[in-house]
């Protein structure tokens, strides 16, 4: 297999896509948003429970999609749980740089190491949108998803 493919579909990513973490509806969500990739028809829903300080108290996602989008969503939920908004913002910015093959400054060493498995995507520009779908959906959930979660609860 060529190196770029090996890098893209490495075991960590395939494991996340086959056994996604925090997968399913979060009943106690305070925020929620739906993401849609019109290119491939993939959908993802991100559920969040933010505490009084807007810290990510709990998070889950639901949806079906390619290995990259599922793995990215799964890793995102692991990474974001417990984070403050400022921290989450920093992670997302770093991640978006990383998948585009740009310098991802501002990430802690641990976070960089975790996210580094996704850096292979930068060799596949047509697939970057797959990797970023969940993150953009997370941001939408934080910014505009409060009412959506309340509607969903009723």
């Amino acid at each position: 297999m060529d190196n770029a493919l090996r890098e893209l579909y490495q075991e960590v990513i395939l494991d996340h896509s086959r056994h996604p973490r925090h997968h399913g509806v979060l009943e106690s969500a305070s925020h929620k948003a739906e993401g849609y990739n019109p290119l491939c028809g993939d959908r993802v829903t991100v559920y969040l429970r933010l505490d009084a300080d807007s810290r990510v108290d709990d998070i889950s996602f639901q949806g079906k999609g390619c290995a990259i989008s599922q793995a990215s969503a799964s890793m995102m939920t692991q990474l974001l749980k417990g984070r403050s908004q400022a921290d989450a913002e920093r992670l997302m910015t770093g991640f978006l740089h990383l998948v585009k093959g740009e310098e991802a400054s501002g990430l802690s060493e641990d976070d960089r190491e975790t996210l580094d498995v996704m850096s292979g995507i930068s060799e596949f520009p047509m697939r970057v949108k797959c990797a970023t779908l969940a993150w953009h959906t997370y941001k939408n959930a934080v910014e505009e998803g409060k009412n959506a979660a309340e509607e969903g609860a009723t």
Binding site: M1, L5, Y9, L14, L39, C40, G41, C66, A67, C130
Partner: protein
């Protein structure tokens, strides 16, 4: 050559392949295996050469020009129209309207033919296997004028239920808009039967021929069809050019689409009269070079025994179908009898985009996604499929590369 290969003895795919320079290139160090002609076909050298030669030696704007080159270009442009006329066997050249593609051709019918006569509750009959270009223009009439879209289902094998279609046509039906060949399923619709049944109830028929015209011989007079849309780039021609065939009586009754130069007879401050069709629907400077390219592509395609080309493509489909049929991890979507050379499928544990990425690295270009047919995706309960589409320049070796790529992808992903 194998026994099946000899069916297409009067068509030499290897020889035709040499007409397409791009097919000898590599991607990622692997020979290109182009199985995405359903999205857009590659262009033979003669098309590219003719376009360049024309631009270099005979080019000017068409019509109205007094000078030598304008007359020469106009002759070529109008000759291209006659080539399309001949290709579709239309009775008259002025029944061919050049458009920028199949999408614009269908939008033209929606805007200029149907919209002026749509009342709330009027119905348009469609099948669930239409491409978005034969759905969205009708949705416009639903949104804006209260038209009702009546959907005809396909069977699990992707074949059209002609009786269901017949039953969907009633006194409120204003148009039947149906694909000639599904871009996902490969299903070829029984146009002649559809048209006979629709006409028996006084309803006109539009066919989206963007795929159909590539693989099937089209005779609009024998079909007695009202509207037939084609696009150049799937017919081995350039992008930016397509055509609408419409019966003369329809064209004459249709209101203008785009407004601008060329489509008028006389423009005054307080009144305007329009040119006769087809000029009425060709506002502005048309895609002149592309029209020459389209005509050249149609001549190229017509230089072969079309039945032999179709037999060759069917052989490739059968060869591929037989092999994937042995994989219990792969589900083919679309198995209608007599279908065209398109193979759509979903593979267990492999999302279409992951599969397409891995195949791509093997040099194999397939399409992955909803193929602009989301209504059909819903019908089959999928969000996307992988699609290999075959053209005259494909060979069994291309199919072999696809199959090898599938195994490789399975090794990585599953």
């Amino acid at each position: 050559m194998t026994a099946q290969g000899k069916i297409a003895a009067s068509f030499d795919a290897e020889k035709a392949r040499a007409d397409f320079e791009i097919l000898s290139r590599e991607v990622y160090g692997k020979p290109l295996v182009y199985l995405d002609s359903g999205a857009s076909a590659q262009k033979p050298r003669v098309v590219l050469d003719t376009m360049r030669d024309f631009a270099q030696s005979e080019y000017a704007n068409v019509h109205r020009g007094v000078h030598f080159l304008s007359a020469a270009a106009t002759d070529r442009y109008e000759a291209a129209r006659r080539t399309v006329q001949k290709f579709l066997n239309a009775a008259r050249e002025d029944e061919i309207v050049f458009t920028k593609g199949g999408t614009e051709a269908i939008n033209l019918v929606s805007y200029s033919y149907l919209a002026p006569c749509i009342q709330p509750g009027d119905e348009i009959v469609l099948t669930v296997m239409e491409h978005h270009s034969n759905i969205v223009p009708w949705h416009f009439l639903r949104e804006r004028q209260g038209a009702v879209l009546r959907w005809v289902d396909v069977g699990d094998d992707g074949s059209l239920d002609i009786e269901a279609l017949d039953a969907a046509i009633n006194s409120k039906t204003k148009l039947v808009a149906v694909t000639h060949m599904s871009n996902v399923l490969g299903t070829v619709t029984p146009l002649k039967d559809i048209i006979a049944r629709a006409h028996a109830k006084g309803v006109p028929v539009l066919a989206d021929g963007c795929q159909g015209a590539v693989h099937e011989m089209v005779d609009v007079q024998a079909l007695d069809i009202d509207f037939y849309a084609i696009t150049g780039h799937k017919l081995y021609g350039p992008t930016g050019i397509g055509a609408l065939y419409a019966k003369r009586a329809h064209l004459k009754a249709m209101r203008p689409f785009n407004g601008g130069g060329e489509m008028i007879r006389e423009v005054m401050k307080d009144r305007i009269t329009y040119a006769d069709p087809p000029a009425r629907f060709e506002a502005g400077t048309p895609p002149i070079i592309e029209s020459i390219g389209l005509a050249t592509a149609l001549d190229y395609l017509s230089s072969f025994d079309r039945k032999a080309v179709a037999a060759h493509e069917h052989d490739l489909l059968a060869y591929a179908r037989e092999q994937v049929g042995q994989f219990n991890w792969l589900r083919v979507i679309g198995d209608a009898p007599g279908k065209g050379a398109i193979l759509s499928f979903e593979a267990e544990g492999m999302h279409a985009h992951d599969l397409a990425t891995i195949l791509d690295r093997e040099g194999v270009a397939v399409r992955a996604g909803h193929h602009c047919a989301q209504v059909l995706m819903e019908r089959f309960g999928v969000t996307s499929t992988s699609r290999a589409s075959f053209a005259l320049y494909n060979t069994r070796a291309d199919v072999d590369a696809l199959i090898a790529g599938l195994h490789k992808a399975r090794g990585i992903l599953v």
